[in-house]
Structures are given as structure tokens and as C-alpha cells.
């Protein structure tokens, strides 16, 4: 039953006098309650059970609780408003503020740059959407390669270790330079020359190493007894991984993976350094022609608009898995 239902049920008890008759007459039509039964009402948060009429004590308790909630709400609001006012004042009172307002917060520049920045931003989204599944596949394959046992696969295992070591150690922007300028220079047939494609390759290589480690942590977190149970049923190591370990591992690492993807969304801007016309590059072009930095602000806003929902979704998933574990 919902909260409003609870309040309805509490009404008869509000009068103070509680007799078994009140239970019968209550709107919810619950069965009569033995005298004094209400004093042992279920713990807070329990759904109204048939035959339960809230005691005056419980009604008073809930009233106090509501009042306390309302009070914390107003305190939080007041303190937030105060902090925002102070921050704004600190900004606008600084000696350089008039200049900053002119160069970073020019509405005219914002409006004129936005269409170009937005069209560039579509490329960021495209890079992100293509890179993300590639990263997932690469990461999982590398994590699995590190778990291979058979001696034949030793080179593969060593390669996987070397890959994660190298690509986690090199800054993403360097990888983008190396792939963006180095790969075409090889002059191999079939090497992509499209700058955005090269960006996707660089981001995939860089993030694949991180995601591989996330997957590996997930695989390691599945309790050995699960492997023992699978092996004891006659499943080979590979089948135990495929049907028992990896499905559980993947479920567990969804929140950290999403966190990496929030980070990937903004790092698509790093691809600007090799030249494709994405949001940051478009903003740079506008800035270069007007000497006004407002287009950067426009680009920043677009990235925030994209990453905030993703971040909230990550929080939601993390909270959900926390709740599940608490059961």
C-alpha cells in the first residue's frame, strides 16, 4: 500500500481513542485489531498490513520524522543558495571579470559559433559510438587472453600483458599523435587515412587497455567456488569461463565500465589534435578568427549535456547493485 494509504489508515487513530472498533471503521477496512496490538506496530517502512491500525505513538513519530525531513530540506536549499551567491560574487568582484565576461561569455559569439560547434559535436558522438563497442570487444578479448592456461597460448598471454602495460602507460594524447601521424606514414595498403577513423583507432587502443583491466578485475572477483562447481560438473576451463564466470563478471563491471565511457565521451575531443572537424576543432577555428573564447564554452556545455545523463545512469546502476548485494 502507498504512503497516502498509510495516512488514511492513520486517521481514526489521530483522535487519540483507540478501540478495536476503529480498525473496522478505518477506510482500508482492515480486520479489527486487538487492543494494544498497535503499540507493537511493525517497523518503520513496513507496508500497511491488514489488521494494523497505527497507534497514536507511531503517528506522532511519523509527524516528527516528516518535520525533520522538511527542516533538512530547507537547510540544504538555503546553504546551496548562499554558496552559489558567494561564488558568483567572488567571480564578478574579481578585477578581471569585465574582460572575462567579454571574452568567454559573449552571447553574440555563442549564437554564431553554436551551429558549427554542434555539427562538430555530432562527429564526437559518432567517434564515441563507434569506439565504444570496439573497446568493449577488445577489452574483453584481452582480459580473456590473460586468463588462458594452455601453453600454446603463451605468446597471446604475453602479448595481452604487454599491451595493457604499454597502452595504460602512454598518455592518450600521445597515442592519438602516434596513430594519427604514424599509421598513415607506414604507407601500408588499406591503412585508413580518414582522420576520424584514426582517432577511433587511437581511442580504442588506449581505452581497450583500461577496459581489459576492468574486465579482468570482474573475472577475478567471481568466487573460486563458482569455478569449482562448474569444473566439477565436467565443464572445461573454457566452458566454465564462458557460461559461468564471464556472465557474472560482466554484470559486476557495468558501473565501472560506464565510468570509463563517461571519460571516453570527453576524450573524443583529444582527437582534435590531429585535425578532424569535431567540436573542439570547430571552436578553435571560431576562436582563431574572432579572438573570443566563447565558442570553447559552447563546446564545454555540449560535452556536459552528454556526460551528465551518463554519469547519473552510472550512479543509478551502482546504487542498484549495492541494494542487490544488501539483500
Amino acid at each position: 500500500m502507498t504512503g497516502s494509504g498509510d495516512r488514511n489508515r492513520a486517521t481514526p487513530a489521530d483522535g487519540g481513542a483507540r478501540t478495536p472498533g476503529d480498525g473496522v471503521a478505518s477506510p482500508a477496512g482492515g480486520a479489527a485489531v486487538p487492543a494494544g496490538g498497535g503499540a507493537h506496530a511493525p517497523a518503520d517502512g513496513a507496508a500497511a498490513a491488514p489488521g494494523w491500525v497505527k497507534s497514536a505513538r507511531q503517528v506522532e513519530r511519523e509527524r516528527l520524522r516528516r518535520r525533520r525531513t522538511a527542516r533538512s530540506g530547507s537547510i540544504a536549499t538555503a546553504s546551496t543558495v548562499l554558496v552559489i551567491v558567494l561564488l558568483l560574487w567572488a567571480f564578478t568582484a574579481s578585477p578581471g571579470w569585465p574582460r572575462v565576461r567579454e571574452t568567454f561569455f559573449d552571447p553574440g559569439q555563442f549564437v554564431s559559433a553554436l551551429p558549427d560547434v554542434l555539427s562538430g559535436f555530432l562527429l564526437n558522438i559518432k567517434i564515441f559510438l563507434i569506439a565504444e563497442p570496439l573497446i568493449l570487444v577488445l577489452g574483453l578479448l584481452v582480459a580473456l587472453a590473460r586468463n588462458l592456461r594452455a601453453p600454446v597460448f603463451f605468446p597471446l598471454r604475453a602479448l595481452a600483458v604487454a599491451y595493457t602495460d604499454v597502452f595504460r602507460g602512454v598518455p592518450t594524447i600521445l597515442i592519438i599523435y602516434l596513430v594519427g601521424f604514424g599509421l598513415p606514414a607506414l604507407g601500408l595498403q588499406g591503412t585508413p587515412t580518414d582522420l576520424a577513423t584514426l582517432g577511433v583507432i587511437a581511442l580504442t587502443l588506449s581505452y581497450g587497455a583500461y577496459v581489459a583491466e576492468v574486465f579482468r578485475a570482474g573475472i577475478d572477483s567471481v568466487h573460486p567456488s563458482q569455478v569449482a562447481a562448474a569444473r566439477s560438473l565436467g565443464l572445461s576451463h573454457g566452458k566454465a569461463m564462458r557460461y559461468v564466470v564471464v556472465p557474472q563478471a560482466v554484470r559486476r563491471v557495468v558501473p565501472p565500465l560506464l565510468n570509463d565511457f563517461v571519460s571516453l565521451q570527453k576524450d573524443t575531443a583529444l582527437v582534435a589534435t590531429i585535425g578532424p572537424l569535431e567540436a573542439l576543432r570547430q571552436a578553435q577555428i571560431h576562436v582563431a578568427s574572432t579572438f573570443n573564447y566563447t565558442p570553447y564554452l559552447a563546446a564545454a556545455l555540449l560535452f556536459i549535456v552528454l556526460t551528465i545523463p551518463m554519469a547519473r545512469f552510472t550512479d543509478y546502476l551502482a546504487a542498484r547493485s549495492q541494494r542487490r548485494r544488501g539483500q
Binding site: S232, G234, K239, Q327
Partner: protein, 247 residues
């Protein structure tokens, strides 16, 4: 020829011997009960039989084949042995039906339809017909353990190993799990079980073995071991168990 022959098996952990030369043979259709204090090596012995642990010395033969041979195919050996753990170890991301049909389908190559049909038949036989599509976390401990037993049975093992299968259960749930083991005995299943339920052990076992400090100290019929133990250590253990029960 015995179904299972354990011959002089040793197992060491970190310089400490958990099993110190165990000899034991199990005939087809025999139910062997291993008793002994925690740490006496009962569970380790079962894990060695299932090759979840490698023995440090001695041999184990199943159906005349030496399964402790390093060239033996461990997966093939495990296909013939079912094991049930104290902590159930059901796969939490699969329904009861998928838990049970995983090995028949992916190891034995049974078709999905046939595997599910057989699984449902087993579930029905053990009173869990309505739980086929439930996930393990929706089941009580007793139900989970019964599913774990069915999962092990579904591969039609030659031998079942039951490792303290009632130890993690509330007392009122123990009965339903013991019931299923009784039924298994009636079907002629060969079983080795470790348990702290002395009454049940006495009722179901053909042979009782008392392990102490990694040594098989005493072996006999339940009647002999429980009423007239030859070893003073066995007598002491049984007395302490009975005392605990009386409290």
C-alpha cells in the same frame, strides 16, 4: 572390483599434512559416511577424489582407471562424479532449470529439449516442479541445496560426493535435504558423504569411516562404530558430539 579405490593418499598444504596415507575402497551401490572433527581431512579427501585437488602421493582408481595419473583427462573423470558442496554454489545468474541443464547440454551434448525434460522430471520427483524458472536467490537454503543435488544428478554420475550438504542449513530445512539423499540411496546410487548429522549417518551409511588428523582411524558398520568403537579417539569424538547434542 571396487568402484573407487583410494590407496595411500597424502595431501600437504604449506608443509602441513592434511591427509596422511588414506586407504579406502568403495563398492558400487555402497554409501560411505566420513565423520570426524573439522580439519580432519574429510572435505579434502572428497576434493581429491573429484580432482579439485591434486594428491601429493598415492593413487585413486575409478572403475579401474587411475584418475590420479597426470595424463588422465580431469574433465572426463569429473563427468563421472557428481559433487555437492556445503555452500550449494549454484550459478546465481541462471534459473534453476539452466543450472541443471548446463552440464548435460554443454558437456554431454544433450539437446535443450531433452535436457529440460529430464531436469523437470527430476525437479518434480524432489518436489521442486514450480521452481524451474526461479533464480537461486529466490529459494530457501534447503531448496537451493536440493537443486544443487539435482544439478549433480543430471549428469548421471557413477558416484556422488556430498560434502557437508546440510551444514549451512537451518535445522528445519535439514530434513528435506536428508530426504533426497535417502531417495538416492534407494535408487542404488554410490555415495561418499561427510556429515555432522550422526543420527542420519547411522541410518543411511553402509560403512562409517572416522578420520582424525588426516588418518583414517576406524572403519566399520554404523552399528559397530557408533556402539562399540575400537579406538579411544573415536569414542572421545562420539562422546563430545553426543554431549553437544544434549545441550
Amino acid at each position: 572390483m571396487s568402484l573407487l579405490t583410494i590407496d595411500g593418499v597424502w595431501k600437504n598444504y604449506h608443509g602441513h599434512s592434511v591427509l596422511r596415507g588414506i586407504d579406502l575402497s568403495v563398492e558400487a551401490h555402497e554409501v560411505v559416511c566420513l565423520i570426524g572433527a573439522s580439519g580432519s581431512g574429510k572435505s579434502t579427501l572428497l576434493r581429491c577424489v573429484n580432482l579439485l585437488e591434486t594428491v601429493d602421493d598415492g593413487t585413486i582408481h575409478l572403475d579401474g582407471q587411475e584418475i590420479t595419473d597426470v595424463r588422465a583427462d580431469a574433465d572426463d573423470v569429473r563427468r563421472r562424479i557428481g559433487i555437492v558442496f556445503q555452500a550449494f554454489n549454484l550459478f546465481p545468474h541462471m534459473t534453476v532449470l539452466d543450472n541443471i541443464t548446463l552440464a548435460p547440454r554443454k558437456v554431454h551434448g544433450t539437446g535443450r529439449e531433452r535436457a529440460e525434460e529430464e531436469a523437470r522430471e527430476l525437479l518434480g520427483r524432489f518436489g521442486l516442479a514450480d521452481k524451474a524458472l526461479a533464480y537461486p536467490d529466490r529459494l530457501s537454503g534447503g531448496q537451493q541445496q536440493r537443486v544443487a543435488i539435482i544439478r549433480a544428478l543430471a549428469t548421471r554420475p557413477r558416484l556422488m560426493l556430498l560434502d557437508e550438504v546440510t551444514s549451512a542449513l537451518d535445522p528445519e530445512l535439514v530434513t528435506e535435504v536428508l530426504g533426497i539423499i535417502r531417495e538416492l540411496k534407494d535408487t542404488g546410487m554410490t555415495m561418499i558423504l561427510t556429515t555432522h548429522e550422526m543420527g542420519f549417518c547411522r541410518e543411511i551409511a553402509d560403512t562409517v569411516c572416522f578420520l582424525d588428523g588426516g588418518v583414517l582411524l576406524e572403519r566399520g558398520t554404523p552399528e559397530q562404530v557408533f556402539t562399540d568403537p575400537r579406538q579411544p579417539r573415536t569414542r572421545e569424538f562420539l562422546r563430545s558430539v553426543l554431549d553437544a547434542r544434549r545441550l
